[in-house]
Symmetry: C2
Subunit: 339 residues, 2 copies
DNA sequence: AACGTTTCCGGTAACGTTACCGAAATCTTT
DNA sequence: AAAGATTTCGGTAACGTTACCGGAAACGTT
């Protein structure tokens, strides 16, 4: 491995001069700079980023903490983040946590040692110990969800969509096309964004004076299979239901599958609506009405926010909300009069 | 940010002693070690990995170069890699290249500056300039595909599945259930693994003395849509076809969609078989017979190979082939006698 | 030709850590 | 209690780079 010293020695120059050439700094003659750059190429010299980080107290690396990169949501976010940062010479250290607190803490303390310049993360709970680690990083942070009321004091920026309003509007759409008995299928009480979606669902029903009780909400679990078990339980509790709002597309697809297998006609007998707009949701067998999330944009915009915080001296925290879009497909339709 | 000096000064010790405590080295009394560790916690000290890397000439970081993290194949590979390396305290720097040579070179030269310890990569072409960058890294490398004949001299390990044999066996299965007119839909001539799959397809037909000409091969493009255009062109050229082997699941799904829209019965009139076994391929509407790839295992095993190379003094390159599995579902069936 | 400016370059220190060597402190043996 | 053996510690150099300061060289002015 060649060092700046080798280059300096090769040309009979000092390391300072070579460093100046390398970093496009002033106080160096044009010709000597060119000579240096040429020698660098010839000697296959490549600067040592670790040494540079050490003295500049800036690593040009950022951390990206997400729960599961195989989740299409996160992989697109990751793509967006990389898209932005690779253009400005930052490297990304990524880690999957599966919302496991220990893994999250482990990853954060690794980042702490690496002296990263910034962090984009989607943790589970904002545990006190976790937040203490985040604070010790002493770098700007972008959180990929909203802050709860008791977290508002934290000095970190956030970016997210308005889950509440998106759900509200989706349910309102169902009501507008005639549905009066609408069910909800969720995966877990512990997920922030699902709670917001459920609140939007509930408030919308209440605002339209429609029946709403524990009977039209089922929390079944995560994944396609639980969409099936979810709607099954829902139909048992409330056979009159004509429309279902699922907390995400996978659940909705599972529900569609169950309905098909049990000879329900969609949307004539039951309308189904999802949340996220996965790529497969537009397949003609599925054709799911759903709420489209700007996944890649969440990635790019969070990266741009972080970039901005990195460059501006005293940044103030921002809380950004991105728009969603209701994509109407064939899994939803007017309530039939004779059903 | 606290340094080792702060800890040393706090206890009236030397930095050497503190370093010894930090790294569990000998030549230190048990009690002083405990005192030091306690002081580190109290002062919120965290070692600086960059400084450590500098003197140890070892960064504890590895590079992961893939084409597109939103591709389920790569995201699972990435998960597997992270799974293995996070357990041993390595960080992963990842980058998407979209098989763009410039992006690949850019990423590699970034890794060069970072002084990574190892690299796992899936590049497009093994361009000479690219390989020169890889060699300059002077670290063990695992390639996520096979080496061509003219690349065999390269001192890098590989891991991949046997695309040729997997395709061969898939086509043989179609032949065994009675099909004699089988078509192939591919996405591009430039993708190594597809070429292998096509060779397996061709050789299998030839070995069974079945008709094989340019007429039963269509190269249409990438993505679900091109599965539709692909099969359409295939049916125009060869209306007698009763089975189709698609180079990947997305193409197969596109083909299924086209068949459904054009009132072909699957598998009664046309059997369809894919390659990869995406999660959605098992949805009951699709139910695609396909070749299952051990995606996560490719990730974990490549990581373990790299780990091994990192620890052993003089590693020899290995070329590993993982098994595939033919998953038979309802998109394929016996050739009907009267068709 | 002497002076002041500007341009360009070199030397030294520093970043935070570990490697290495030598010396102090403690323990063992006689 | 003195000698040696062992344990424990400190000081210094080094990793590869940039920051900073001072001075030499080149230029322009009178």
């Amino acid at each position: 491995m060649r060092t700046i010293k080798d280059v300096a020695h090769e040309l009979g120059l000092s390391v300072s001069t070579v460093s100046r050439a390398l970093n496009d700094k002033p106080d160096i003659k044009k010709e000597t700079r060119e000579k240096v750059l040429e020698a660098m190429k010839r000697l296959n010299y490549s600067p040592n980023a670790n040494a540079r980080s050490l003295i500049q107290k800036k690593s040009n690396m950022i951390g990206l903490m997400l729960s599961d990169i195989t989740d299409p949501f996160f992989s697109e976010v990751a793509l967006g983040v990389e898209d932005v940062f690779s253009k400005v010479g930052y490297q990304i250290i990524y880690g999957n946590t599966f919302l496991d607190l220990d893994k999250e803490k482990q990853f954060l303390s690794n980042l702490l040692e690496r002296k990263i310049d910034g962090l984009i993360m989607k943790p589970g709970k904002l545990d006190a110990e976790l937040m203490s680690l985040v604070e010790r990083l002493e770098v700007p942070v972008v959180l990929l969800r909203k802050l709860d009321e008791n977290e508002k004091h934290l000095n970190i920026s956030t970016i997210d969509v308005d889950h509440y309003m998106a759900a509200y509007k989706a349910v309102e759409y169902l009501i507008n096309i005639g549905h009066q008995n609408i069910g909800f299928i969720g995966m877990s009480k512990d997920v922030n964004e699902e709670e917001e979606r459920l609140n939007g669902f509930s408030d919308c029903l209440r605002d339209h004076s429609l029946e709403h009780s524990v009977d039209n909400v089922v929390i079944s679990g995560t994944g396609i299979k639980h969409g099936g078990t979810g709607i099954q339980r829902l139909m048992e509790k409330k056979p009159k239901i004509t429309a279902v709002f699922a907390a995400n597309d996978l659940l909705a697809i599972g529900a569609l599958e169950w309905l098909a297998k049990n000879n329900y006609r969609v949307p004539e007998e039951v309308s189904v609506i999802g949340f996220e707009d996965l790529e497969i949701s537009s397949l003609h067998w599925i054709n799911l009405t759903t709420v489209k999330l700007p996944r890649k944009k969440i990635g790019t915009q969070s990266a741009e926010m972080l970039m901005h915080m990195l460059s501006s001296e005293n940044f103030e925290k921002k809380e950004v909300e991105l728009d969603t879009q209701l994509i109407i497909r064939k899994s939803s339709g007017n309530k039939q009069i004779n059903s």
